[in-house]
Protein backbone atom coordinates (compact mmCIF):
# COMPACT_ATOMS: atom_id res chain seq x y z
CA UNK A 1 0.00 0.00 0.00
CA UNK A 2 1.46 3.32 -1.01
CA UNK A 3 2.37 5.77 1.72
CA UNK A 4 1.32 8.66 -0.49
CA UNK A 5 -2.37 7.88 -0.66
CA UNK A 6 -5.09 7.69 1.94
CA UNK A 7 -6.42 4.14 1.70
CA UNK A 8 -10.09 3.21 1.97
CA UNK A 9 -10.92 1.39 5.21
CA UNK A 10 -12.21 -1.58 3.19
CA UNK A 11 -8.73 -1.91 1.70
CA UNK A 12 -7.18 -1.74 5.15
CA UNK A 13 -9.49 -4.56 6.29
CA UNK A 14 -8.77 -6.68 3.22
CA UNK A 15 -5.02 -6.21 3.18
CA UNK A 16 -4.18 -5.88 6.88
CA UNK A 17 -7.08 -7.70 8.56
CA UNK A 18 -5.25 -10.99 8.79
CA UNK A 19 -2.17 -9.40 10.32
CA UNK A 20 -4.23 -7.35 12.79
CA UNK A 21 -6.04 -10.56 13.78
CA UNK A 22 -2.78 -12.40 14.40
CA UNK A 23 -1.44 -9.47 16.43
CA UNK A 24 -4.72 -9.37 18.41
CA UNK A 25 -4.73 -13.12 19.02
CA UNK A 26 -1.16 -13.21 20.28
CA UNK A 27 -1.93 -10.35 22.66
CA UNK A 28 -5.32 -11.55 23.94
CA UNK A 29 -4.80 -15.31 23.71
CA UNK A 30 -8.25 -16.24 22.42
CA UNK A 31 -10.41 -16.00 19.33
CA UNK A 32 -13.34 -14.03 20.72
CA UNK A 33 -11.29 -11.25 22.28
CA UNK A 34 -9.10 -11.11 19.18
CA UNK A 35 -12.19 -10.78 16.95
CA UNK A 36 -13.60 -8.01 19.15
CA UNK A 37 -10.29 -6.18 19.04
CA UNK A 38 -10.07 -6.43 15.24
CA UNK A 39 -13.54 -4.91 14.91
CA UNK A 40 -12.63 -2.09 17.28
CA UNK A 41 -9.43 -1.39 15.32
CA UNK A 42 -11.30 -1.31 12.01
CA UNK A 43 -13.90 1.08 13.48
CA UNK A 44 -11.12 3.39 14.66
CA UNK A 45 -9.42 3.16 11.28
CA UNK A 46 -12.69 4.06 9.56
CA UNK A 47 -13.17 7.09 11.83
CA UNK A 48 -9.50 8.06 11.79
CA UNK A 49 -9.01 7.98 8.03
CA UNK A 50 -10.97 11.25 7.74
CA UNK A 51 -8.16 13.05 9.58
CA UNK A 52 -5.29 10.83 8.37
CA UNK A 53 -2.46 12.74 6.77
CA UNK A 54 -0.51 10.63 4.30
CA UNK A 55 2.75 9.48 5.85
CA UNK A 56 3.81 6.27 7.49
CA UNK A 57 0.60 4.29 7.09
CA UNK A 58 1.89 1.23 8.92
CA UNK A 59 3.10 3.29 11.86
CA UNK A 60 -0.33 4.90 12.08
CA UNK A 61 -2.16 1.55 11.82
CA UNK A 62 -0.11 -0.22 14.50
CA UNK A 63 -0.44 2.72 16.82
CA UNK A 64 -4.24 2.52 16.52
CA UNK A 65 -4.14 -1.25 17.02
CA UNK A 66 -1.93 -1.00 20.06
CA UNK A 67 -4.01 1.77 21.63
CA UNK A 68 -7.23 -0.18 21.09
CA UNK A 69 -5.64 -3.16 22.84
CA UNK A 70 -4.49 -1.07 25.80
CA UNK A 71 -7.92 0.56 26.19
CA UNK A 72 -9.41 -2.92 26.27
CA UNK A 73 -6.88 -4.05 28.90
CA UNK A 74 -7.77 -1.06 31.09
CA UNK A 75 -11.48 -1.85 30.78
CA UNK A 76 -10.83 -5.47 31.72
CA UNK A 77 -8.90 -4.57 34.82
CA UNK A 78 -12.25 -3.61 36.34
CA UNK A 79 -13.78 -7.05 35.76
CA UNK A 80 -12.30 -10.54 36.16
CA UNK A 81 -11.37 -12.41 33.00
CA UNK A 82 -12.02 -16.00 32.12
CA UNK A 83 -9.40 -17.56 29.92
CA UNK A 84 -11.09 -19.20 26.98
CA UNK A 85 -9.61 -22.21 25.30
CA UNK A 86 -9.96 -22.66 21.63
CA UNK A 87 -8.20 -24.45 18.86
CA UNK A 88 -5.89 -22.69 16.51
CA UNK A 89 -6.23 -23.17 12.81
CA UNK A 90 -2.84 -22.64 11.39
CA UNK A 91 -2.05 -21.70 7.84
CA UNK A 92 -0.18 -24.78 6.78
CA UNK A 93 1.93 -24.59 3.64
CA UNK A 94 2.46 -28.31 3.20
CA UNK A 95 0.69 -31.28 4.69
CA UNK A 96 2.69 -32.51 7.70
CA UNK A 97 1.84 -35.76 9.44
CA UNK A 98 -0.73 -35.69 12.27
CA UNK A 99 2.07 -36.21 14.82
CA UNK A 100 3.92 -33.17 13.53
CA UNK A 101 0.76 -31.08 13.67
CA UNK A 102 0.08 -32.18 17.23
CA UNK A 103 3.65 -31.50 18.36
CA UNK A 104 3.64 -28.04 16.79
CA UNK A 105 0.25 -27.09 18.18
CA UNK A 106 1.24 -28.19 21.66
CA UNK A 107 4.46 -26.20 21.44
CA UNK A 108 2.71 -23.10 20.11
CA UNK A 109 0.13 -23.41 22.91
CA UNK A 110 2.97 -23.35 25.43
CA UNK A 111 4.50 -20.28 23.82
CA UNK A 112 1.10 -18.56 23.69
CA UNK A 113 0.45 -19.39 27.36
CA UNK A 114 3.85 -17.95 28.29
CA UNK A 115 3.16 -14.79 26.26
CA UNK A 116 -0.06 -14.28 28.22
CA UNK A 117 1.88 -14.30 31.48
CA UNK A 118 4.06 -11.37 30.40
CA UNK A 119 3.10 -7.91 31.68
CA UNK A 120 1.24 -6.07 28.91
CA UNK A 121 4.00 -3.59 28.08
CA UNK A 122 6.52 -6.41 27.52
CA UNK A 123 4.05 -8.61 25.65
CA UNK A 124 3.14 -5.90 23.14
CA UNK A 125 6.78 -5.14 22.33
CA UNK A 126 7.69 -8.82 21.84
CA UNK A 127 4.61 -9.45 19.68
CA UNK A 128 5.18 -6.35 17.53
CA UNK A 129 8.78 -7.44 16.99
CA UNK A 130 8.45 -11.20 16.52
CA UNK A 131 4.90 -11.74 15.24
CA UNK A 132 4.24 -8.59 13.19
CA UNK A 133 7.90 -8.10 12.22
CA UNK A 134 8.18 -4.37 13.04
CA UNK A 135 11.57 -2.72 13.52
CA UNK A 136 12.51 -1.17 16.88
CA UNK A 137 11.87 2.29 15.40
CA UNK A 138 8.40 1.29 14.22
CA UNK A 139 7.59 -0.20 17.63
CA UNK A 140 8.82 3.00 19.33
CA UNK A 141 6.47 5.01 17.11
CA UNK A 142 3.50 2.69 17.68
CA UNK A 143 3.94 2.51 21.46
CA UNK A 144 5.05 6.14 21.81
CA UNK A 145 8.19 5.23 23.81
CA UNK A 146 11.91 5.78 23.14
CA UNK A 147 13.80 3.18 21.09
CA UNK A 148 15.97 2.40 24.14
CA UNK A 149 12.85 1.43 26.07
CA UNK A 150 11.73 -0.81 23.20
CA UNK A 151 15.11 -2.52 23.30
CA UNK A 152 15.01 -3.19 27.02
CA UNK A 153 11.37 -4.32 26.99
CA UNK A 154 11.98 -6.82 24.19
CA UNK A 155 15.03 -8.20 25.97
CA UNK A 156 13.38 -8.40 29.38
CA UNK A 157 10.24 -9.88 27.81
CA UNK A 158 12.28 -12.62 26.16
CA UNK A 159 14.11 -13.32 29.41
CA UNK A 160 10.77 -13.75 31.16
CA UNK A 161 9.62 -16.09 28.38
CA UNK A 162 12.78 -18.07 28.86
CA UNK A 163 11.93 -18.55 32.52
CA UNK A 164 8.36 -19.53 31.66
CA UNK A 165 9.26 -22.06 29.00
CA UNK A 166 11.20 -25.15 29.90
CA UNK A 167 13.33 -26.24 27.01
CA UNK A 168 13.99 -29.85 26.22
CA UNK A 169 17.72 -30.56 26.16
Amino acid sequence: MSDNLTPAWEDVARHHGRQIYNFAYRLTGNRDDASDLVQEVLLRVRRGLASYTPGSFEGWLWRITRNAFLDDVRRRQRRPTVELKDTERSTILTAPSPDEVLAHVRLSDDVQAALMKLPVEFRECVVMCDVVGLTYEEIAHAADIPVGTVRSRIHRGRKMLRELLTWPV
Binding site: H16, Q19, Y21, L42, E88, T91, L93, S108, G133, R162
Partner: protein, 216 residues
Protein backbone atom coordinates in the same frame (compact mmCIF):
# COMPACT_ATOMS: atom_id res chain seq x y z
CA UNK B 1 23.97 -9.98 38.90
CA UNK B 2 23.61 -9.80 35.15
CA UNK B 3 26.53 -8.67 33.01
CA UNK B 4 26.40 -5.04 31.80
CA UNK B 5 26.52 -6.15 28.16
CA UNK B 6 23.73 -8.69 28.50
CA UNK B 7 20.93 -6.24 27.54
CA UNK B 8 22.54 -5.93 24.08
CA UNK B 9 21.84 -9.56 23.23
CA UNK B 10 18.27 -9.19 21.94
CA UNK B 11 19.05 -6.11 19.87
CA UNK B 12 22.07 -7.97 18.47
CA UNK B 13 19.82 -10.85 17.33
CA UNK B 14 17.35 -8.35 15.84
CA UNK B 15 20.05 -6.49 13.91
CA UNK B 16 19.26 -3.33 15.87
CA UNK B 17 22.72 -2.43 17.21
CA UNK B 18 24.96 0.37 16.03
CA UNK B 19 28.49 -0.48 14.80
CA UNK B 20 30.15 0.41 18.14
CA UNK B 21 27.79 -1.78 20.16
CA UNK B 22 28.11 -4.57 17.63
CA UNK B 23 31.87 -4.72 18.23
CA UNK B 24 31.30 -4.72 21.98
CA UNK B 25 28.85 -7.61 22.03
CA UNK B 26 30.69 -9.76 19.46
CA UNK B 27 33.94 -9.43 21.40
CA UNK B 28 32.16 -9.91 24.70
CA UNK B 29 30.42 -13.14 23.68
CA UNK B 30 33.83 -14.69 23.09
CA UNK B 31 34.91 -14.14 26.65
CA UNK B 32 31.73 -14.30 28.79
CA UNK B 33 30.24 -17.81 29.13
CA UNK B 34 27.17 -16.47 30.99
CA UNK B 35 26.30 -14.10 28.13
CA UNK B 36 26.97 -16.80 25.55
CA UNK B 37 24.54 -19.08 27.36
CA UNK B 38 22.00 -16.25 27.52
CA UNK B 39 22.56 -15.57 23.81
CA UNK B 40 21.59 -19.15 22.92
CA UNK B 41 18.59 -19.10 25.27
CA UNK B 42 17.28 -15.79 23.90
CA UNK B 43 17.86 -17.01 20.35
CA UNK B 44 15.70 -20.08 21.08
CA UNK B 45 12.94 -17.99 22.68
CA UNK B 46 12.96 -15.57 19.76
CA UNK B 47 12.71 -18.42 17.24
CA UNK B 48 9.83 -19.99 19.21
CA UNK B 49 7.76 -16.80 19.05
CA UNK B 50 8.67 -16.13 15.42
CA UNK B 51 7.58 -19.58 14.32
CA UNK B 52 4.16 -19.42 15.97
CA UNK B 53 1.76 -20.48 13.20
CA UNK B 54 -0.04 -17.78 11.24
CA UNK B 55 -3.74 -17.98 12.15
CA UNK B 56 -6.71 -17.69 9.83
CA UNK B 57 -9.30 -15.17 11.07
CA UNK B 58 -12.65 -16.81 11.97
CA UNK B 59 -15.17 -16.85 9.08
CA UNK B 60 -17.73 -15.09 11.31
CA UNK B 61 -15.36 -12.16 11.74
CA UNK B 62 -14.64 -11.88 8.01
CA UNK B 63 -18.39 -12.06 7.28
CA UNK B 64 -19.16 -9.47 9.93
CA UNK B 65 -16.64 -6.99 8.52
CA UNK B 66 -18.21 -7.60 5.13
CA UNK B 67 -15.52 -6.53 2.68
CA UNK B 68 -15.04 -9.93 1.09
CA UNK B 69 -12.08 -12.26 1.57
CA UNK B 70 -9.01 -11.01 3.43
CA UNK B 71 -5.75 -11.14 1.55
CA UNK B 72 -2.79 -13.20 2.73
CA UNK B 73 -0.49 -11.42 5.20
CA UNK B 74 1.02 -8.38 3.46
CA UNK B 75 4.48 -8.81 2.11
CA UNK B 76 6.93 -6.61 3.98
CA UNK B 77 10.39 -5.59 2.94
CA UNK B 78 10.15 -6.98 -0.56
CA UNK B 79 13.63 -7.96 -1.62
CA UNK B 80 14.56 -9.09 -5.09
CA UNK B 81 16.51 -12.00 -3.56
CA UNK B 82 16.50 -12.79 0.15
CA UNK B 83 20.28 -13.38 0.20
CA UNK B 84 21.48 -13.27 3.79
CA UNK B 85 17.94 -13.87 5.07
CA UNK B 86 18.04 -17.43 3.74
CA UNK B 87 20.06 -18.54 6.77
CA UNK B 88 17.52 -17.07 9.15
CA UNK B 89 14.79 -18.71 7.05
CA UNK B 90 16.45 -22.11 7.41
CA UNK B 91 16.81 -21.60 11.13
CA UNK B 92 13.15 -20.63 11.47
CA UNK B 93 14.07 -17.23 12.80
CA UNK B 94 12.15 -14.98 10.42
CA UNK B 95 8.85 -13.52 11.56
CA UNK B 96 5.76 -15.08 9.98
CA UNK B 97 5.32 -12.30 7.38
CA UNK B 98 9.03 -12.31 6.53
CA UNK B 99 9.05 -16.10 6.14
CA UNK B 100 5.98 -15.90 3.89
CA UNK B 101 7.82 -13.38 1.71
CA UNK B 102 10.82 -15.66 1.37
CA UNK B 103 8.60 -18.72 0.72
CA UNK B 104 6.80 -16.85 -2.05
CA UNK B 105 10.10 -15.77 -3.58
CA UNK B 106 11.54 -19.30 -3.45
CA UNK B 107 8.55 -20.63 -5.33
CA UNK B 108 9.49 -18.54 -8.35
CA UNK B 109 13.30 -18.25 -8.18
CA UNK B 110 15.42 -21.28 -9.00
CA UNK B 111 18.66 -19.44 -8.19
CA UNK B 112 17.53 -18.85 -4.61
CA UNK B 113 16.26 -22.42 -4.34
CA UNK B 114 19.72 -23.66 -5.30
CA UNK B 115 21.32 -21.26 -2.84
CA UNK B 116 19.02 -22.53 -0.09
CA UNK B 117 19.87 -26.11 -0.94
CA UNK B 118 23.61 -25.39 -0.77
CA UNK B 119 23.19 -23.53 2.47
CA UNK B 120 21.21 -26.38 3.97
CA UNK B 121 23.79 -28.95 2.85
CA UNK B 122 26.58 -26.86 4.37
CA UNK B 123 24.69 -26.50 7.61
CA UNK B 124 24.00 -30.22 7.76
CA UNK B 125 27.66 -30.94 7.14
CA UNK B 126 28.73 -28.56 9.89
CA UNK B 127 26.33 -30.12 12.37
CA UNK B 128 27.44 -33.62 11.41
CA UNK B 129 31.14 -32.87 11.92
CA UNK B 130 32.61 -34.95 14.76
CA UNK B 131 33.71 -33.16 17.90
CA UNK B 132 37.46 -32.81 17.94
CA UNK B 133 39.76 -32.83 20.93
CA UNK B 134 42.17 -29.91 21.13
CA UNK B 135 45.66 -31.05 20.12
CA UNK B 136 48.22 -31.33 22.90
CA UNK B 137 50.87 -29.44 20.97
CA UNK B 138 51.28 -25.77 21.87
CA UNK B 139 49.70 -23.25 19.51
CA UNK B 140 52.15 -21.34 17.35
CA UNK B 141 53.22 -18.10 18.99
CA UNK B 142 51.73 -16.05 16.16
CA UNK B 143 48.18 -17.17 17.04
CA UNK B 144 48.61 -16.15 20.66
CA UNK B 145 49.94 -12.74 19.69
CA UNK B 146 47.68 -9.70 19.53
CA UNK B 147 47.76 -9.86 15.76
CA UNK B 148 46.62 -13.47 15.72
CA UNK B 149 43.85 -12.72 18.19
CA UNK B 150 42.45 -9.98 16.00
CA UNK B 151 42.49 -12.31 12.99
CA UNK B 152 40.57 -14.91 14.97
CA UNK B 153 38.13 -12.27 16.12
CA UNK B 154 37.43 -11.16 12.59
CA UNK B 155 36.84 -14.76 11.59
CA UNK B 156 34.42 -15.17 14.48
CA UNK B 157 32.61 -12.02 13.44
CA UNK B 158 32.10 -13.49 10.01
CA UNK B 159 30.98 -16.78 11.46
CA UNK B 160 28.34 -15.09 13.54
CA UNK B 161 27.23 -12.92 10.67
CA UNK B 162 26.57 -15.57 8.11
CA UNK B 163 26.34 -19.32 7.83
CA UNK B 164 27.11 -18.81 4.16
CA UNK B 165 30.59 -17.65 5.12
CA UNK B 166 31.07 -20.88 7.03
CA UNK B 167 29.92 -22.83 4.02
CA UNK B 168 32.44 -20.97 1.89
CA UNK B 169 35.17 -21.69 4.43
CA UNK B 170 34.27 -25.37 4.43
CA UNK B 171 34.38 -25.46 0.67
CA UNK B 172 37.75 -23.77 0.72
CA UNK B 173 39.04 -26.37 3.16
CA UNK B 174 37.71 -29.16 1.00
CA UNK B 175 35.45 -30.52 3.73
CA UNK B 176 32.52 -30.63 1.35
CA UNK B 177 34.45 -32.48 -1.32
CA UNK B 178 36.91 -31.35 -3.95
CA UNK B 179 40.36 -30.07 -3.04
CA UNK B 180 43.40 -32.29 -2.62
CA UNK B 181 42.14 -34.35 0.29
CA UNK B 182 39.32 -36.85 -0.05
CA UNK B 183 35.96 -35.76 1.34
CA UNK B 184 35.31 -36.95 4.88
CA UNK B 185 31.54 -36.46 4.62
CA UNK B 186 29.39 -39.45 3.80
CA UNK B 187 26.66 -38.12 1.50
CA UNK B 188 24.12 -40.77 2.51
CA UNK B 189 24.61 -39.93 6.15
CA UNK B 190 24.27 -36.25 5.33
CA UNK B 191 20.91 -36.81 3.66
CA UNK B 192 19.75 -38.96 6.60
CA UNK B 193 20.70 -36.17 8.96
CA UNK B 194 18.75 -33.72 6.84
CA UNK B 195 15.64 -35.91 6.86
CA UNK B 196 15.89 -36.61 10.59
CA UNK B 197 16.17 -32.91 11.35
CA UNK B 198 13.40 -32.08 8.94
CA UNK B 199 11.03 -34.27 10.95
CA UNK B 200 11.74 -32.52 14.23
CA UNK B 201 12.62 -28.91 13.40
CA UNK B 202 9.97 -26.29 12.87
CA UNK B 203 10.23 -24.46 9.58
CA UNK B 204 11.77 -27.35 7.64
CA UNK B 205 8.50 -28.69 6.32
CA UNK B 206 8.26 -26.03 3.63
CA UNK B 207 11.60 -26.78 2.01
CA UNK B 208 11.09 -30.18 0.32
CA UNK B 209 7.91 -28.95 -1.35
CA UNK B 210 9.80 -26.10 -2.97
CA UNK B 211 12.91 -27.93 -4.00
CA UNK B 212 12.82 -30.02 -7.16
CA UNK B 213 14.23 -33.08 -5.44
CA UNK B 214 16.46 -34.21 -2.61
CA UNK B 215 19.19 -36.69 -3.50
CA UNK B 216 17.85 -40.18 -2.78
Amino acid sequence: MACVNEPLISAYLDGALGPGELDVIVGHLETCPACLEMFHAIKAVRAAVRTLPGLDPPDELVDLVGVGAWAAAPVRRVAAHPGAELSAYLDGELSTPEAATVTAHLATCSACRSELQELDAARTAIRALPRLEAPDVAFPVRVASADGASVRRRLRLRYLASAAAVAAALLALGVLGGGDQPSTVDIDRLVDHHKARQSVEAGFGVIPALLPEVNP
